[in-house]
């Protein structure tokens, strides 16, 4: 029964690590990767919530939420990568110009 707890905690860890990566990593593609890790963390928490019923039953709603979330994440990632490629094409750099904001410059 507490197996799901491990996954939930892991999800929280991934969320924080991803967020940290998003702030700290200057390379555009790594930021996108970090964001994906963050997203995976949240999905893991959701799936862990679904598994609370033990081995017999599971809650289908979080599963549906995660499926939807994955599609949204892929869509966002695709546009982000394409934008990053064009930023690199125009500026020749792989980091954001005059970056350095609080969360994710």
């Amino acid at each position: 029964m507490t197996g799901h707890l491990l996954y939930a905690l892991a999800g929280g860890m991934l969320f924080c690590m991803g967020w940290l990566g998003l702030i700290v990593q200057p390379h555009l593609l790594r930021k996108i990767m970090a964001w994906n890790v963050m997203g995976t963390g949240v999905f893991l928490v959701l799936v862990a919530l679904a598994a609370r019923g033990g081995t017999g039953s599971f809650d289908p709603v979080p599963h549906a939420l995660v499926l939807t979330g994955i599609v949204v994440a892929v869509s966002g990632t695709a546009v982000a990568i394409k934008l990053a490629l064009h930023v690199h094409d125009r500026t020749g750099r792989t980091t954001l110009p005059d970056g350095d904001g609080k969360t994710a410059p």
């Binding site: 969320f15 967020w19 998003l22 555009l28 930021k31 996108i32 964001w35 963050m38 997203g39 963390g41 949240v42 928490v45 959701l46 919530l49 709603v61 979080p62 939420l65 939807t68 979330g69 949204v72 869509s75 966002g76 546009v79 982000a80 934008l83 990053a84 064009h86 930023v87 125009r90 500026t91 954001l96 110009p97 904001g101 609080k102 969360t103 994710a104 410059p105």
Partner: protein, 493 residues
């Protein structure tokens, strides 16, 4: 008979699905028939929004169960006074933008129209949402669409700003989603109204509230999380800037308000509300000061948005007290409406100016009013509302908020509100005084482009709307009082 029609149709669903259908048609038909679709988007949404408003006015808050299942199993739409007014705001500004965009865009219009219509649908969907995860999906639709619209400028600064905005907005969404997960884990539902009944002050709920507020504040560009906005709103094409500043920032703010009213009513803290209020006050001052410094007109207007967003966040401390809740809410709602019209008018006018002048360096725009009298007049009229001068909507809104502040003894917010108006005058006159310099026509550099009535008329219409809103202050108050799904806010607090 017509009243039955108005009362029985689900105008919420119509408001959401009309732009969706138009988007599909716009993408399917490519370059043929875009004008027809564009005109449909000018005419249909205001009709639907008015019908929604009338419906809520006649029968009170409306809940629509999509699929017939009803919460918590299915997803509901809810329309109360606040939602209906927000949808109307979208319809008015959106209609003007659709009109403007027909004259503004060249070949990139094939990419503009489908995306813009999807964004419009997303906006309406957010204002009518009653389900937490539904809000998440619509916020993502909104974000992705607005990023693409920003990138339509195709300039390097637009692409960079779009990327930064995308990463930050997506981050905010994930914060929100984690909050949703925690709330579902604790309370077992995604419906906001049901949540309101089931929340307690446990740690998961408190953390969820904090996470969601953080994520949404990032998307609404509340200081100090505002740093992405000036670049994004100034680099976008003019009609897109109008939509960004006028409508899109209000969407995440609306979610904050709705969460507060429906779900987190019993677990919000005085300290939290005052922190939001203080940040709002800082935003008003900081945004205005920055607007006085910058050299480019679009950047000035974007910083003005940062400042005006601050006013919205004064709602949190002002609406806490039972005595002033309805005043504060009506004031902030009116402010949102007036700001949407005025700010959109300003951006549309600036777009016309940039077409003619070829640039937006404020120092180089002396006497531009001679070339573009209508656009400059629109700017001026909108500025009246932004400064909060009577009889404009901006004035009426600030007046309501001042009353709320004084009634509850929080007079210090009142000082900030008044100060903000003065500062707004300061930065708005930077452009107006230069533009209105008479008889400099001979000294003006040759015009780089020609303006078009299709650009200036929508700006003018929106500016007039912002000013006329002032007369609707009192009826708006009554409407809000009667039509809120909690029957006036004083009760719940």
């Amino acid at each position: 008979m017509i009243w039955r029609f108005v009362e029985d149709t689900s105008w919420s669903a119509v408001s959401i699905f009309t732009p969706l259908i138009l988007a599909i048609l716009a993408y399917a038909l490519r370059d043929r028939g875009w004008r027809l679709i564009a005109w449909a988007s000018v005419v249909l949404p205001p009709l639907a929004a008015t019908a929604l408003l009338v419906q809520v006015g006649r029968i009170g808050p409306v809940r629509y169960e999509i699929g017939g299942w009803g919460s918590p199993l299915g997803i509901d739409l809810q329309a109360d006074a606040l939602s209906a007014l927000m949808v109307l705001m979208c319809a008015v500004v959106g209609s003007a933008v659709s009109l403007y965009a027909q004259s503004y865009f060249g070949p990139e219009r094939a990419h503009f129209w489908p995306t813009w219509l999807m964004v419009w649908a997303a906006l309406n969907a957010i204002f009518l949402a009653a389900d937490l995860f539904n809000v998440y999906v619509t916020l993502e639709l909104l974000t992705l669409g607005s990023v693409i619209l920003i990138a339509l400028s195709a300039s390097t600064s637009a692409l960079v700003a779009a990327f930064r905005y995308l990463m930050l907005a997506l981050t905010g969404s994930l914060f929100y989603l984690l909050g949703v997960a925690l709330l579902y884990g604790q309370c077992g539902t995604l419906d906001m109204a049901l949540l309101g009944q089931r929340v307690d002050s446990s740690v998961p709920v408190q953390l969820a509230q904090a996470l969601m507020i953080l994520g949404l504040a990032l998307k609404t560009a509340l200081v100090p999380l505002h740093f992405w906005l000036p670049a994004a709103h100034s680099a976008a094409p003019a009609p897109v800037s109008a939509v960004l500043s006028g409508l899109i920032v209000k969407a995440s703010f609306y979610v904050l308000v709705r969460l507060r009213l429906d779900a987190f009513d019993t677990v919000s803290t005085v300290a939290g509300d005052h922190v939001l209020g203080v940040l709002g006050a800082v935003a008003i001052v900081w945004g205005s000061l920055q607007a006085m410094r910058v050299k480019r007109l679009k950047l000035l207007v974007a910083y003005s948005t940062v400042a005006q967003i601050g006013y919205l966040f004064l709602w949190f401390p002002l609406a806490r007290e039972a005595g002033a809740a309805s005043l504060a809410t009506s004031g902030v709602v009116l402010f949102a409406l007036a700001h949407a019209c005025a700010k959109a008018a300003v951006f549309l006018a600036v777009g016309a100016v940039m077409r003619v002048a070829g640039h937006d360096r404020i120092s180089g725009l002396r006497g531009i009013g001679n070339r573009l009298p209508l656009a400059t007049f629109a700017f001026g009229l909108a500025a009246v509302s932004l400064m909060g001068l009577p009889p404009s909507g901006g004035f009426a809104a600030k007046w309501l908020m001042l009353q709320a502040a004084i009634t509850t003894g929080q007079w210090y917010w009142g000082i900030v509100i008044v100060l903000g108006g003065l500062l707004a005058a300061g930065y708005l006159f930077r452009f107006l005084s230069r533009a209105l310099e008479a008889d400099r026509g001979a000294d003006l550099p040759p015009a780089r482009g020609r303006s078009h009535a299709g650009l200036e008329v929508p700006a003018m219409l929106l500016a007039v709307a912002a000013c006329v809103l002032g007369f609707l202050g009192v009826p708006l108050c009554d409407f809000c009082d009667n039509g809120m799904s909690h029957g006036g806010l004083g009760d719940a607090l």
